[in-house]
Symmetry: C2
Subunit: 272 residues, 2 copies
């Protein structure tokens, strides 16, 4: 099911700035056991993104109603709910009239059937050649300009590789193509800074809060390739997969370590 | 008139990767006096972009036919023809199946009615705050990830300002929001290097060829803010506007200089 501005629809105007310029934002929400998980956090991030991009989006109540409609339609079927907000439709050229009305697209998709072992035994991961674009003003925002992720994800077809890690121009590792990254190094939990590139993930934020509540030693800082090599534990996370321990990157192997397992338990108990 | 994969249509599938990820390319072509100007060069750039992004676009003949249909429909009316090629439609997630078929969108739009004086007396220009994203692998390509240009262009509403100049992370001036930039400094024609950001424009390439044929001293190099201040002449160019001399940037004024005027004449005589 897809709703565009509240109406069942599977197409959008060619003139929409989402298509013309990638001028918009998105959210990917796990719908499990009848719950759109972390919906409030997703909506808050979406609104923050609209504010940062100057997108005039005022119909949050309508959007919430549309998400509810999609959830009602799904009933007991687990799914992924995707929200796209674009700046709206109209005109040729980068300038956008201030009275432009944002477009809302809410859609449901099958939940990917990842093997259960991904969460228990971990996944194999690679380093991507394609680098993240550096831009201090866009860093953190889940916007629709996703060519970097597309190019990085299409570097491999081997189904045994579950994720690829991406660096930015200075060679620091920032995130996965579809996930955020955490490492455990010297008993400290570390996640890359997102000051120049990367998406500020909902699960990433949740895990930072959990780690701090629990009193784990934690730091956000640049993560180099050698930090990855030296890490005791490594995991990737997002709203759909939760936490996947990394069991190998190319020739280096990692155990599914105690901090990763602890965070999996704490995340599963976290109110959604 | 809009043709999507050859059929008159004003909408596109929500699942198209052009909307989902900005996963595609575009061309903006001036149609004047019954001619789609520099069409061959636009098509060559489009194909080069497809190759760089790994977009499986094989229907060039169909695309040419669709451009001809649009031109026939326009008849004697000057216009802008826009081509969008996306990787195609389908799936959620960054991975794209290799058998995905690229989407072709060809549309016509009114030619903007810029005052004739823009070309003769020059335009007022500003410096934009928003910076271009740095990415060596994407630099030069006219792809659909255009949030940088959108944010920069929407920094001003004053109709007296015709263009904004954008820098990249290191502070060098790379281009305008919708144009390439040339300066004349110490009798040498200079245009910024596009190794880290920017779009390799068709008129830019044409002017480089013209300058070299004519024996003008020419260089592609980084252009700093002080180069802009010290320049004797300055102009911006693209396929729709041709060459606009810059008559002022904020408080600094420039004359419409002899090299700019010479290039305007040579460009107007250049076969299109």
């Amino acid at each position: 099911m897809i709703l565009v501005n509240g109406k069942p629809e599977d197409r959008i105007a060619i003139t929409d700035r989402g298509l013309q310029y990638g001028d918009g934002l998105f959210e990917t929400i796990a719908y499990r056991n009848g719950i759109a998980e972390f919906l409030q956090q997703h909506l808050e991030r979406l609104l923050l993104g609209c504010e940062k991009l100057g997108i005039n989006f005022t119909h949050v109540d309508r959007l919430k109603h549309e998400v509810t409609q999609i959830c009602d339609d799904l009933a007991d079927n687990d799914a992924v709910i995707k929200i796209i907000i674009t700046r709206g439709s109209g005109g040729r050229g980068y300038f956008a009239n201030a009275d432009m009305v944002a477009t809302r697209i809410v859609s449901s998709h099958p939940l990917p059937n990842y093997p259960e072992e991904h969460a228990t035994n971990g996944v194999a991961v690679r380093f991507c050649q394609h680098r993240l674009s550096d831009n201090v003003q866009l860093a953190g925002i889940k916007h629709l300009n996703r060519l970097d992720q597309v190019l990085a994800r299409n570097e491999w077809t081997d189904p045994a590789i579950s994720e690829g890690l991406m660096s930015n121009a200075d060679g620091n590792i920032v995130e996965g193509t579809m996930s955020n990254l955490f490492i455990v190094l010297g008993n400290k939990l570390i996640t890359p800074l997102l000051t120049h590139a990367g998406i500020a993930g909902i699960i990433r934020a949740r895990l930072i809060a959990i780690a701090q509540d629990y009193g784990l030693e934690f730091e956000q800082r640049n993560v180099s390739r050698s930090d990855i090599t030296n890490a005791q534990e490594l995991f990737v996370c997002n709203s759909v997969i939760g936490i996947w321990p990394v069991r190998s990157i190319e020739t280096r192997s990692y155990p599914v370590g105690p901090i990763t397992q602890l965070l999996q338990i704490l995340l599963s108990k976290s109110p959604k």
